[in-house]
């Protein structure tokens, strides 16, 4: 094809071309945030009820990762490896996943007010978790049933939305169906709460719904890690095409993008990430809505940068909030409450500062 030949032709001047002359902002934001994330993780291991020097932390982590013998006392080993490590890793994964999924959904639905649980993922996961707690399925069972019903709810939304829209896959029908499915789910959650034993099960369901990372175990990390990484793949791979979709389906098609295929892959990826996050950490609100806004303020709407920057910012944000939960507050306030307390005013601040960013 002659076009391909032309594409390769001017390659000789590549060296002279600046990295990305038309992007917004000059700062190497991805690099800066990556360093910041590593630093936040390091600090998170050190702080807590007991503070640890870096040497102890490194020794414990190396001992578990490489099987080297360690001289650290048993109680410190347990605190670092079994208590702090899963919680820190989960905060990074959940925060990153929710924010990346939110950024993808906001681009896909061409609406900055969209959050990753738009199509009912959180609602379905809530029903699954409430059911699992009610029927005493154990923590792994609860996580699994939350994940399964979260996926099922999105599947129902997508199928019903397509049927109601008579195969047109209209975005509005999809969003409205998502709202219907979500409120159906909250009715079902209320039903499980209503029949739950008020001394035992009811508080468990309530606490799960409020969101938190204190229940995540080392073994619970794998069922979180795998869907988050698998779901991230289509978001990262298709993020240039996500940009093109911002101009509407017909324009995207005229630019050689198949909007149905891109939408399907991105929805599946974002749903996997959301369902895995919600089933591990409960309803952690605001991260998926607010963080992508902050990311776009930093690097602009180009999904090539906005998606990874959202993921990094989300991971840092949730890790810092969870550190506050662990250290500053004497009683553990549920994470979901704190993200809302931080997220809501921050969102208003963004709204006041950068209205232009989405008008």
């Amino acid at each position: 094809m002659s076009a391909e030949a032309e594409r390769d032709a001017p390659a000789g001047v590549d060296g002279a071309a600046p990295a990305d002359p038309w992007r917004r902002g000059r700062w190497p934001v991805v690099t800066i945030l990556s360093v910041l994330l590593v630093a936040t993780v390091a600090v998170s291991f050190a702080v807590g009820v007991t503070a640890y020097p870096p040497g102890t932390i490194v020794e414990v982590l190396l001992a578990h990762l490489t099987g080297r013998p360690s001289t650290v006392a048993r109680v410190d080993d347990v605190t670092i490896w079994l208590v702090r490590m899963p919680r820190i890793v989960a905060a990074v994964l959940v925060g990153g996943a929710l924010a990346a999924a939110g950024a993808a959904y906001q681009a896909l639905f061409r609406n900055p007010m969209v959050s990753p649980d738009l199509l009912g993922a959180s609602g379905g996961a809530g029903v699954g978790a409430a059911l699992g707690i009610l029927l005493s399925w154990g923590s792994a069972g609860v996580q699994l049933s939350a994940f399964a019903l979260g996926l099922a709810a999105v599947l129902v939304t997508y199928t019903v939305g397509t049927l109601v829209g008579r195969g047109t896959e209209s975005t509005l029908t999809l969003v409205l169906t998502g709202i219907v499915v979500s409120s159906l789910c909250s009715a079902l959650i209320s039903l499980t709460k209503y029949v739950a034993d008020p001394d035992d099960k009811l508080p468990q369901i309530t606490f799960w719904l409020l969101g938190g990372l204190e229940t995540v175990t080392v073994r619970g990390l794998l069922p979180l890690l795998v869907p988050v990484l698998v779901g991230l793949v289509p978001l990262m791979v298709l993020r240039w095409r996500l940009n093109v979709l911002a101009f509407g389906d017909e324009e995207a098609a005229s630019l050689g993008v198949n909007p149905r295929v891109v939408k399907a892959f991105v929805i599946v990826g974002a749903t996997l990430m959301t369902a895995a996050s919600v089933s591990a950490a409960g309803m952690v609100g605001w991260v998926g809505l607010v963080v992508p806004h902050a990311a776009r303020m930093l690097v602009g709407p180009d999904a090539r940068r906005a998606v990874p920057v959202s993921a990094l910012l989300g991971a840092i944000f949730l890790l810092v909030v969870d550190d506050l939960v662990r250290t500053v507050l004497t009683t553990e306030v549920p994470l979901g409450i704190l993200t809302a307390l931080v997220g809501a005013p921050f969102f208003l601040f963004l709204l006041a500062r950068g209205r232009r960013a989405w008008t």
Partner: protein, 270 residues
Amino acid sequence: MDLTVDDPPDSPVLDVRDLRCGYGAVDVLDGLSFTVAASEVLCVLGPNGAGKTTLFKSVLGFLPPRAGRVLVAGRELSGWGRRELARTVAYVPQAHAAPFPFTVGEVVLMGRTPHLGVAGAPGPADRLVAGQNMDRLGIGHLAARSFTEISGGERQLALIARALTQQPRLLMMDEPTSNLDLGNQARVLREVRDLAAGGLAIVMISHTPDHAFAVATTAALLVPDGTLRVGTPERVLTEGALGEAFGRPVRILAGVGEDGATLRACLPVL
């Protein structure tokens, strides 16, 4: 992929034969035939609701034809892959605002998408093509500005630059001069003329017969009964035909331009 039909060098880029298309139970267009070759500008005129947009949707492959054929570079439209078609046919929508503030450079760069792999992102060579097209349309200095903040005329030029960045053979322009002031209209029309002189085939929808007189080699007048009259602008866009198509009497006035060429303008009689 259908490679059995070769593209003879002198064949039209767009060949529409006996096209019938519509939505639901209604046929909007029936029995349409026309061709557009390289360096030709076809201007489609017609009253609101006559089916100009429907015709565009059919040619761009958004709306399958009910009867007849649409051939692009000699090959049936249904035999084209989406990316492959986007490297041959580019669509210039009416100037609009994106929901997110992409920079002008990013918007123009999106024209490289059909040249990239499914998972690809544009590289320096793609930016070079996009940059050349922005310079050519005189909007190179806007590359780092936000697409949502520039004027309507600049947005239209950016969308033309994006289409050129697809490196197509056929440009489909949907009312490229709508909502533009007189100066910007002239700017866009001069680009249309120059691009055709450079070998592009162009189809544009317009509401202004003057623009067809100014740049079109062929005019196509859609009348409300769904038929199409095709020919040189002077032959098709007569006072009688335009009056009939738009349901109002019109007068066509002629003047002399700078280089002695005849300028024509159409005025409605109130």
